[in-house]
């Protein structure tokens, strides 16, 4: 079997609700998305979600190759990117190609990707994540209660700009999740808004009231000294790495004992890169947690990673043109036996989204908010419904 061509599609979608964090508390409704189709000479197509564009710059490296040789092709692309670096847009394309290759490898074997990767079962523990900074207190409760009704017993709250509000809303999240567990798992995410010392002060304050599983990105993504300092000075585990690009970026975090949990994503140089990081983390006894994504497709990978704890489920309504059959029940993402990632594309809906782009509030990506790392700029009433 050989790779013969590709097609990439980009589009915008309007989510069912806003998503927001400390850097853009007012949130956005519009999300850009992309789909890569890798074509072969045997009428099997590999599909991957979420790259940015520019596949033509790397396609010559895989054209005519057997998609089953995905690790070898990963090495080839990684070596090709040596001088320019596996960074930015290049990483997005690299990741998209690698994911589509794994989709093909599993489809050729007529098995779900979780099985190709050696998992025993297609089942991954989920945690709820509202990306909820712009949700009112009532909306916050409703989101986490809806997730709890699906058995999800852990949640992650966006925090950072108003410590009193953060503590109040953590209580709301805990109450909403309490139907799933007597002791819901609680996490917070400040998205690099704090300095390390701010993080120590604010997390310590929260720890007076709540037992947290982890605090995500309490300092800058690359600041291994700052992240380690936070980890040493609070009880809560420090989670980080979602915005890094490869195992090379992760190395300083692990070597300097700066991360207690690593957040993985498809943007970590694809399935292969993601697995490399997970294997390195496992060797160092550092748990990993898969980031949210459309249709929870990376649960296919998470199911096979040693040391994986639970995967982030956001569920804001991003699957407009995607057909999939995984679902959340009893607190777990359940994957089917559909081949590959188990994702199909409804071409008619995709075409409609491209021809009639939806209108709505804001667009990705979030900028960094004023005051970040230095002083707090609380949200104004025009930014969030809960601020005073």
């Amino acid at each position: 079997m050989k790779i013969t061509g590709f097609r990439s599609e980009t589009y915008f979608m309007k989510m069912d609700r806003e998503v927001a964090d400390a850097n853009l508390p007012s949130g956005v409704e519009i999300m850009p998305a992309s789909i890569l189709f890798l074509e072969t000479d045997e009428d099997i197509t590999g599909v991957s979600l979420g790259y940015g564009g520019g596949v033509e710059h790397l396609f010559h490296l895989i054209e005519g190759e057997d998609p089953r040789d995905v690790l070898g092709l990963w090495i080839k692309i990684n070596d090709y990117l040596h001088k320019a670096g596996n960074e930015g847009a290049a990483t997005l394309v690299f990741s998209a190609i690698d994911m589509a290759l794994w989709d093909l490898k599993a489809k050729i074997a007529d098995e779900p990707l979780w099985r190709t990767l050696g998992a025993r079962e297609g089942r991954v523990k989920a945690y709820a994540s509202g990306l909820d900074y712009s949700l009112s207190d009532d909306e916050l409760f409703c989101f986490y209660r809806r997730m709890a009704e699906m058995g999800v017993d852990s949640g992650k709250l966006k925090v950072g700009l108003d410590i009193d509000a953060d503590i109040r809303r953590l209580g709301i999240m805990r109450e909403a999740l309490s139907i799933a567990s007597d002791r819901p798992g609680l996490m917070i995410d400040s998205n690099e808004y704090w300095s390390p010392k701010q993080a120590v002060r604010y997390i310590s304050k929260i720890e007076e009231r709540f037992d947290l599983i982890w605090a995500e990105e309490p300092a800058r993504r690359w600041d291994y000294d700052g992240l380690r300092l936070v980890s040493q000075q609070v009880r809560t585990a420090v989670a980080t790495a979602e915005n890094l690009k490869s195992i090379a970026d992760i190395y300083p975090l692990i070597a300097n004992e700066a991360a207690d949990v690593l957040n993985l994503s498809s943007g970590h140089s694809g399935v292969t890169g993601c697995r490399q990081i997970a294997n390195m983390a496992y060797a160092h006894n550092v748990p990993v947690s898969m980031m949210n994504c459309q249709a929870n497709f990376m649960a296919q990978v998470a199911a096979a990673l040693p040391g994986h704890t639970m995967m982030e489920v956001v569920d804001p309504g991003r699957e407009h043109c995607l057909k999939y059959d995984n679902y959340v029940q009893d607190g777990f993402i359940h994957l089917s036996d559909a081949p590959g990632f188990g994702i199909d594309v409804d071409e008619a809906i995709l075409k409609d989204l491209q021809e009639n782009p939806p209108k709505g509030k804001g667009a990705f990506p979030f900028p960094r908010r004023e005051g970040a790392g230095r002083y707090l700029v609380p949200p104004s009433p025009s930014e969030t419904p809960w601020s005073s």
Binding site: G72, I75, G118, R120, I247, M280, A283
Partner: protein, 334 residues
């Protein structure tokens, strides 16, 4: 699909062939020391029978959890894991290198002469003659660093290797017999005579500080021997940056463990050596590991205990296209 049976058949020289069968008729084979048969049987009964054979990652970790610190059980788990990969790739009519996702790529290889197997210098000469047609450019001699005959053996190895393209690469298997300072002194003397690429276990591999001290005081790279197992054995070496190269082996890490630990080493950009194994099946990793360095060859193709499809030419080991491990079980072993 489920694993239905596990059985062993005695081969020569204290080795046995183990076979795992699935309910669709697929079978996977590998070799295990006969002394470990009963350990492997117990482990297979507990962890494999009734399980889906494609669940390689989960089954590997399940077996390790059951094995705990029992090194015999760890070795048995590795053998069972290799057999599972043979089963899965044979069933799909793919060579192992393709099943694990690699490209077809020859493995850079080094000829390895052991103290135990070769004994006197004279035996080395016979081995070198047998190895000559394969064009090795790299070689390893195993001996205590303080052995008086070591410089002579290294010199003969150097002469026996193909130097037509570049100076041969020399490895020494020091067998972990020296204290760190003794190792540094001995290696420093050898380095006045030879350009040595890497030294295996210049002091006991469990001595992490000592290993690091040796590395910091010699020119050659330092790598581990096979006395440490898994992430438990490597974690402190990673943390201290005491190794310059990581050596892995299917005989203790299985296929799954090699893939996982090679990823961990890649995080530090540590090159990977694959230790020798029957059939030289480590050649299958060359196109799958991003920092693959060299494959140890003790079994020349004409002397293999498990005749395989791996061929060696100009010092490169080519895994071939035969399904699975590519071992010809019908051919009598040497």
């Amino acid at each position: 699909m489920k694993i239905t049976s596990f059985k062993t058949t005695s081969l020569a020289a204290g080795m046995s062939r183990l076979c795992i069968e699935a309910d669709d008729g697929a079978a996977g084979n590998w070799i295990i020391a006969s002394a470990l048969q009963s350990v492997a049987e117990k482990l297979a009964d507990a962890a494999l029978i009734g399980q889906e054979p494609r669940s390689t990652t989960s089954l590997w970790h399940d077996m390790l959890d059951r094995a705990g610190n029992d090194l015999q059980a760890r070795a048995a788990a590795a053998a069972l894991d290799v057999a599972l990969w043979d089963l899965n790739s044979t069933r799909d009519n793919e060579p192992l290198w393709k099943k694990i996702g690699g490209s077809q790529k020859p493995a850079n290889a080094h000829l390895s002469i052991t103290e135990r197997a070769s004994g006197a210098t004279q035996s080395d000469d016979v081995f070198f003659q047998q190895a000559a047609p394969f064009g090795f450019r790299e070689g390893k001699v195993s001996a205590c660093l303080t052995s008086k005959s070591l410089p002579d053996r290294i010199g003969k190895l150097f002469s026996a290797l193909d130097a037509s393209a570049q100076p041969p690469s020399l490895y020494i298997g020091a067998q972990g017999r020296c204290a760190p300072k003794d190792a540094i002194a001995a290696i420093s003397k050898l380095e006045q005579l030879f350009d040595i690429t890497a030294i295996e276990a210049p002091c006991p591999t469990w001595d992490i500080s000592g290993t690091k001290k040796v590395s910091e005081n010699i020119k050659a790279a330092v790598f581990n021997d096979l006395s440490i197992f898994g992430r438990e054995g490597l974690l402190s070496h990673f943390r201290r940056r005491s190794l310059d190269i990581v050596q892995l082996s299917v005989l203790k890490d299985g296929v799954t463990g090699v893939l996982e630990l090679a990823d961990a080493a890649f995080g530090y950009e540590l090159p990977i050596l694959i230790a020798s194994s029957p059939g030289n099946i480590g050649a299958h990793f060359a196109g799958a590991l991003p920092y693959f360095m060299s494959l140890e060859i003790r079994d020349l193709p004409s002397k293999q205990t498990a005749p395989s499809a791996v061929t060696i030419s100009n010092g490169w080991a080519q895994p071939g296209d035969a399904p699975g491990l590519g071992i010809n079980w019908a051919q009598p072993s040497a």
